[in-house]
Amino acid sequence: MTTHAGAVHAHEAPQGFIRKYIFSLDHKVIGKQYISLALFSAFVGMFLSLLMRMRLAWPTMKLPFFPDGILPEQYLAMVTMHGTIMVFMVLTTAPQSGFGNYFLPIQIGAADMAFPVLNMLSFWTTLLSLVVLMAAFFVSGGAPLGGWTVYTPLSAIGQIAGPGQGLGMTLWVIAIAIFCGASLMGAINFIATTLDLRSRGMSLMRLPLTVWAWFITAVISLLAFGVLLAAGILLLLDRTAGTSFFIPGNLVLTDKVIPHKGGSPILWQHLFWFFGHPEVYIAILPGMGLASHVLSTFSRKPVFGYRAMVFAMSSIAFLGFIVWGHHMFVSGMSPYVGLAFSVLTMSIGVPSAIKTFNWLGTLWGGDIKFTTPMLFALGFVSLFVSGGLSGLFLAQTSIDQYLHDTYFVVAHFHLIMGVAAIFGIFTGVYFWFPKMFGRMMSDTMGKLHFWLTFVGVYAIFMPMHFIGLAGHPRRYADGSGAAYLASMDPVHVFMSVAAFVTIAAQFIFLFNFLWSIWKGKKADINPWQATTLEWGVPSPPPHDNFAGHEPPVHRGAYEFAVPGVADDYIMQTTPPEKVAKA
């Protein structure tokens, strides 16, 4: 091999079902595998949330498989698994590993990722991690109880801390450690591909913002997952080798002194949140990139402030690493440290606001086409703003003393991380479906899906702000223990009904998706009249994307409504002499 890796990595199109669809090296197949994994996980996670909402609204209701109703321990196990599955298996995989795998190489003009074997390996390790995680449901004691943050010491001392804290918790740690390995492999691949395999003329400032977002997300993953891996190893040692990194001395539990000494439960919080805060940006950045991309395409206008968008994403990524303490204001940290974390956290509002105003600037005066992907991109912006504003409340130490661990936090992170990122995923599905499957999804069903979901998620999560302000703690199976909580029961009923409707609406999506794969209207090569490279290749793209040659790139990614030009868009691959004058 020479020092030049070479931009064209064409490998022979594989023959046979197994090499083509199962152990495939093709980034597009791997992308689809990731999306399928995320889709499956999303439905599991959603089903768990349905059960939790049932329990919250109607605590004593008997359900199939739950003859005595859902027990409090079972409720906590659902909280943990819902959060873990959604954060790791859905929000981390679908926007980044799924769509990124499929479209990053095509959008930069490459034939595949830089390391196809590593790519395949990272998918299969992710699947292994999912299997290990799911196994926690079926072992004795069931799934762990500590929430997706698995705070120590209760997560470190084993079965004595509760039924799911035995083998189930061990499986959780192993699954997450495996997931770290898979994400690190993916991150290395994404970064190397973006830097090394861009086609001729694709300078950094001509990259679509989607590519920038995937690239920056990969850098965050590279730096964050290594730390979670270390934390996971230590927790596993505590659980299996008898060490006490996270277990303090003289800890008494159910009248027994735990035979460990000297560790610090707060250490886990530091390590976890050093990963955990960057992780929330891993979930949201690809959605930000895609929202910018889609808003520009359907406003028929260039992205407002392209460079500012790139710098905003980069500074969000940087700041994301120095604000983890805002999750620990009530951990007994020095007020001075709390103040520093508070100021740094609020400073993230600046790049976030730059992005928001640039989105609005992109829409301003545009020739807006309200297609389904456009609606979801607008929904993304709406949810990002609604969820981000509550972050500024939580970022103040004094207010957070009260709001921490209440439903207010649940409202904040569901709007901004959960639902906004999911809207990003939906934007991607509706926008790229024609390219991936060569057919259009039904616009009518898409819009129905959008409106039900958009109104539904606000109906579920807005009231949580109010019960949070009224002091309702999170992770309680029911409010029967305290009179003031019982008075909030009607709100729970309202939110559960809203959840029921919203979840039902997702089956419209599932039907539309599956139906359109086989029965959808045939799609043109470029149905949205978009400018980036994927819209210049057949749908679905052939095995090596560009039939063995590198497409030369002549311009930036967002040339809409260029004055003096006949069409209202110019593809990135159109050379200057081919641009028709008006």
Binding site: H4, I188, I191, L229, S244, F245, R307, Y558, E559
Partner: protein
């Protein structure tokens, strides 16, 4: 500035098909791996520092004093293996296959000796009552936990490195791998040495009785 319109007529400064940073993807990939692994070790060493600073009964000095001579020898062996690796990479770039393989074998030998000495040290410590969860010498048992956790992960890296170098040396000897592959494996090896250069002062030297 207007990013889109101004670009229409401007040619890109870079028109090559190869990589713009004249660094192959494999080498870049190894650098990125090193970055992420640095973070993992950094987290562990921070854990060690945190435990050491917050524990009033941290065992200082190190329980076995003569071990420091022993560990110094280990350190010299490991550093020496970095030198032989440099020679191997240089030979590979000159295209001298036989010499490359020889230097790489020397490097692997250094790595293997390091692991052997390290394992001996472990056995002694365990025999004397220092384990991940107990410390017969008095003081916090977390000393053993961090000690075995960090040096164990490092030793795993060295052992994997010996195997990795073996594969690359064989492949290079047979003409299947390129000089760049040797260089990339060298990057890994130097990184593992460099980690030790943090472990050695932080865990051993800072605990010696003078």
């Amino acid at each position: 500035m207007s990013d889109s319109h101004a670009d229409v007529l401007r040619e890109s400064p870079w028109t090559g098909g190869g990589s713009p940073y004249s660094i192959g993807s494999k080498k870049l990939g190894m650098w990125l791996f090193i970055v992420s692994d640095t973070l993992t070790f950094a987290a562990l060493l921070l854990t060690y520092s945190y435990c050491r600073l917050t524990n009033p009964n941290w065992p200082k000095p190190f329980p076995i004093f003569n071990a420091i001579v022993f560990t110094t020898i280990m350190t010299v062996v490991l550093l020496g293996s970095s030198l032989t690796m440099v020679m191997g990479v240089a030979a590979a770039h000159r295209g001298n296959r036989a010499s490359t393989v020889k230097w790489m074998l020397a490097t692997m030998l250094g790595g293997a000796i390091f692991c052997g000495l390290h394992a001996t040290e472990w056995m002694h410590l365990i025999h004397d009552g220092l384990t991940p969860f107990s410390n017969k010498y008095g003081g916090s048992p977390l000393f053993g936990a961090t000690f075995f956790g960090i040096t164990g992960l490092h030793m795993t890296h060295v052992a994997i490195g010996v195997i990795y170098l073996g594969i690359v040396a064989t492949g290079f000897g047979r003409g299947k791998f390129s000089a760049e592959d040797v260089e990339v494996s060298g990057l890994y090896w130097h990184f593992v040495d460099l980690v030790w250069m943090f472990v050695f002062p932080m865990i051993y030297l800072m605990s010696v009785k003078y």
